[in-house]
Each structure stands twice: as structure tokens, then as C-alpha cells.
Symmetry: C2
Subunit: 356 residues, 2 copies
Amino acid sequence: MTQKILVLPGDGIGPEITAQASRILAACQARGLDVEVEEGLLGGAAYDAHGEPLPAETLEKAKAARAILLGAVGGPKWDKIEDLSKRPEKGLLGVRKQLGLFGNLRPAITYPQLASASSLKPELVAGLDIMIVRELTGGIYFGQPRGIEERDGERVGFNTYVYSESEIERIGRVAFEMAQKRGKKLCSVDKANVLEVTILWREVMERLAPEYPDVELSHLYVDNAAMQLVRAPKQFDVVVTGNMFGDILSDAAAMLTGSIGMLPSASLNESGQGMYEPCHGSAPDIAGQGIANPLATILSVAMMLRYSLDEPALAQRIEDAVGKVLDDGLRTADIASEGMRTVSTAEMGDAVLAAF
Amino acid sequence: MTQKILVLPGDGIGPEITAQASRILAACQARGLDVEVEEGLLGGAAYDAHGEPLPAETLEKAKAARAILLGAVGGPKWDKIEDLSKRPEKGLLGVRKQLGLFGNLRPAITYPQLASASSLKPELVAGLDIMIVRELTGGIYFGQPRGIEERDGERVGFNTYVYSESEIERIGRVAFEMAQKRGKKLCSVDKANVLEVTILWREVMERLAPEYPDVELSHLYVDNAAMQLVRAPKQFDVVVTGNMFGDILSDAAAMLTGSIGMLPSASLNESGQGMYEPCHGSAPDIAGQGIANPLATILSVAMMLRYSLDEPALAQRIEDAVGKVLDDGLRTADIASEGMRTVSTAEMGDAVLAAF
Ligand SMILES: CC(C)[C@H](C(=O)O)[C@@H](O)C(=O)O
Ligand SMILES: CC(C)[C@H](C(=O)O)[C@@H](O)C(=O)O
């Protein structure tokens, strides 16, 4: 049965980078991948067209798709929208929530060709390979009650950080299973010395541990985790944490690889339906210049093939093609270095296609 | 009038490092500093003695003191205490709250002698000098309601992230004034694209800005701030943020200087009463071995002289003494490097005293 893929270019550099990734997707179709690809509007682009960051039409298409490829959403143009529910980011959060994409996989990998691009000393990041498993549909980004209201003569802003046992267990299992397939080490990050919600988090992780006897479970407080990531990132294999801590730590981890323009991510629900997107943002400052790095988005297609479409061989071909292009010395501006050839977004796409 | 200083050694390496800092304090008294020094119990040490991490006696002494010198609290020994209100950390949070120490100043400085100890490339951290201003008595660490309760047949954990306009304004003013005395750049960190409480945060910062026309105010989302700290920390001068984000970012920033064993902090209330403590924790793994680095605690005494006791000249003497000892090549184990002399906690204290 032909499966549906929805491409959501989004904002900023989104359209440029998804254009290149769509070419790879087409090349996969030419090699026999049986999918039907359509496009939709999300984020600021959708707000500009329809006054809504997640139009009903997009949501319908998203639900019908086996997998979604997203560029990125947001930008200063929409930062002044008073009604938070209309901001581009809410479109993204809406897709995550409506499709139940609770399992966010964020690899932080240092590409051997790019180790020198890291701000960390090369020996600390060479060979780095962390998988951050972030809970994506709960926690403080979705908790109720929330808002800004008048209390005792002044305004007060409030949000609720909340997790139920079943939400924690569900993401915990994803992380334990991931650890089983990798280095068999799982570090759960919380602030259990202060926050009750994360005491429950830690308790549930502990309760699951005996079911995965081959996995070594450890715990870190989030402040310490941020330090350890900076100090010695290679101590980590799989990291599991809630939505907000995962947001912060996965971005820090991605940046310290020096390969942030290269890092894809997957957001999955229980049936393997998924949204795939680069770890980096919409980079409005360089949008429209044709210089953005399309590799993270291209590698997001590889993740899609692996996790939602069960096509590991095609995924591997893409990853190999990207590796070859880096070996050949091609670099977009963000990863440019002496002795390498700086190329445009489209040239990078051409090169990956040629190597595919 | 003789002012009171309360020393709270706390847990882990706390007693060892405050012992050295107390010697410096005594040397200041010998040079005419008119203070009366007493000791008290806080954290795990207080729990073991009285079943309470913040005994009434300690709180009374703390209130009566102009300044408090704290070692550190917490450790695995107390991580299993079921009742969160009895954990060592709650003693620390209690002092902060009871004394209204809302303004937490956390410098992240790279000591020129230690630039090579950073995990970042030396050119990225040489000369680094950031001041993180963290709100310390509000936000999610104190918000109500909080707890773990049964809902729909399962347990749910919840905490509340809450700030009022006046709380935000108060810490905002501390940060703007700090920026005026430094590089005149202030970066406020929030997650205003998702969390209402931080929309209010950003709004209040914007409202204050015209009163400090010489300060350039910018905003970053917390995930981006974590990335920027790793990528190019020298772009920051003063950073202001809430309790939780400040906890995470200040620890990351401290670690990336490579000088974390060297960094003091101050927590102040509106009348200049303050608590001073090293940025690092209680390091239970090396407690009792006499190898901990006492310099962050010694430098906390310097901060105390500057911010609570109005003795900038004495503060400068301590800072100069520490600089001289580093120049002389003395290092505790945490900052040891080739060609330098590794010394014990007490030897480091001796050396600073001799140079004072
Ligand atoms: C755009 C924003 C809502 C989003 C998030 O915070 O989840 C982004 O930062 C991410 O990490 O995917
Ligand atoms: C010990 C703990 C409660 C404390 C905090 O989170 O505030 C510590 O991490 C700090 O940063 O001072």
C-alpha cells in the first residue's frame, strides 16, 4: 500500500532545505520507495496564509501521513503576535500533540570530518555519539493551568510542569529499548532534589529498570547534566528526560558536537508514525540566501526511512552519500573550514544526489 | 557596630573548604575587620543532628547575621529521604526564601592561569567574564501548588512555574544595574515562545529597559542560550533569568570556564544581607580526603566583603592573593596540570594566607 509523506517547509530556511531533502525523497521513489509526497503549510507561513499556525487542512494531511518532513518554524516576524496560540511554534506543538508524537529522538553525533568545528577540544568530541530521548507531548510545555492573570493588584504568569506515571513509563520504555540497541547505558535527567514531578519521574525510571537488566540506569540532576555535557560528553550513551530539560540539553549537546547543521531528529508515536526535522532552527538571518546547510534535513529523510518506513537499506545509502560528500571536502558556510570547498544549499543537494 | 558572620560548613567537602575560608576571615579580622564569626548546621549535617535540614537555631542565627558563608549541601547519603521537605537541599532553599535572598550573582570567569583547563578551545574562553543574575526565591522551585497525587487511577506529579510582575521587576533592576557597572549588555533568557510565565518576564524586562538607556537589552530563548553559551560564550556580559533556567545555565557556564573550582557566588536581599557560597557542589566522592579546592570558598569571602560588608579593599587583597598563588604554580587536584605543583586543601589555604 502506498504510504503518504507530508512535507512541511515552514519558515526561514525551511523551504530551501526541504527542497533539497525532497529531491532525495524523489530519488528514493525512483529506486522503488512506494510513497506519495504532498506539501502543507505550518508555522508562520500558515499564519500568514490562513491566520492559523496549524490550519485544519494541514492537521488532516498530517494525520493521514505515515511520516512528516518538517523544515523549521518561527522567526522574529511573528514574535510580536500577542496571542500565543497563534505563534508559529504553537503549530509545531499542535502537530506533536495531535499526533501523539511523544518520543523525540535527538542524536548528538560528531561527524569525523567535522570534529574540528566543535568549540570543544577535538579529543573530547571525536567519536561522540549520544542519543537524547526527550518526552515531547507532556511536561510544562503542555501543562494546565497556564496563563497570565491579575492577583493582588498585579499580573502573575504561571505554567504547570506535570507528568503522570503512564506518560513517564511510555517514554522510559522508548529510552530503555534504545539503550538496549546501543551502548546499554541510560542516564535519566531530573531535578528530584527540588521538584516533586521529577521525583515521580525518577521513581518510574527505577521501577522499569529491572525489566531491562542489561541496561545500566543512572540519574543526574539537570544542572549537573548540563555541566557533565560540557565537561565530558562521551560519558553518555542514551539520555532520557522531560520536554523542557530535553529541549535545553539536546540543543546544548547538538551544539557541542560542532555538527549542528548535520543533526536530524525524529518524533514518534506508538504506531511508528513520525515527524522528522533538523535539530537546528529556522535561521531567519540567512533565509533566502541559498547558503543554509540541507544535510540535517536530508539526514532526517534517512531517519524517516529507518523509523517510519522500515527501509534501513535506503537510509544507509543516504547516510553513506552524506559521508562521501563530506569526505570529498564539500561544506556549506556553517561548517566551512580551510582547505574545503564552500558550496551553496543547492550544490550540496546536487552532490548528495550524485553520491546516492 | 560589630557585624555577625555565620559560617555554615554543610556537607561533603563543605567543612574542609569553609575551614580554609574561615582562616582568611580571621586574617581579615586581624587587619581590622570588625565582625563576629559563629558557626551553624545546615543540610545533611543538620538533618543528622536534629532531623531537620534547617533547624530553628540556624535560621535565627542566619537572620541575625549580616552575611553567611556556606560550604555546600547534599549527597547520596540523604537522597533516599522520602520526605522532600527534609532533604539537605530544602535547608538551603529555606535560608534563601526566609531571608529573601532573591538576587543570585554567579560570575563565570576564566582565570588566565587556567584557560587550558577548559573543555572549550582556549581562544573561546580566554578572558571570559560573564555575570549570570539568577532569580533565587521564586519560579518553579518555590511555586504552589506542587506535589504528587492520585488522578484517574494513577499518580501524577506537578509543580508550578510562577512569577509576579514585582518579582520580575526586582531581579530585572539588579541585572540592569549590574550591566551598567560592567559591559552595558544585558541578555534576558526565557521561553516566551511557549511559556506564558516567561512572556510576562520578557514584557517586564522590556518595560524596564528605557530606565537604563545605556544598557543594551537582548532576549534569547533558553534552548538557544544553552547553545550560544557552548558556541561563543564571550558574546555575553550580564545574563538575567529565572530560578530554574539560571540553575542550569550558570552551572554550564561555570563548567565551560574550566575554573569551576574557582567560582564564588552571592545571594542577596534588598538590604544587602547575603549568603556566599562556591558554585561547585558538595563533591561527596572526594570529601574527607583533604584534596578539595578551597579557592571558590575563599573567593566567596571576597564577594562577601564587597557586597555585604563594604570592604572592597580587603576583597581585592584576597583576590590578588589568589591570583598570586596561581601565578606561583600551586594547584589543587581538580585544576592540576603539567609543570604545576599539586597541593592539598590546607596547603592551598596556607599559600593564600601567606600571600594575603
Ligand atoms: C520551536 C519550539 C517550540 C521547539 C521546542 O521548544 O520544543 C524547538 O525549540 C524544539 O526543540 O523543537
Ligand atoms: C542544591 C540545589 C537546591 C541548588 C539549586 O538548584 O538551586 C543548587 O543546584 C544551586 O544551584 O545552588
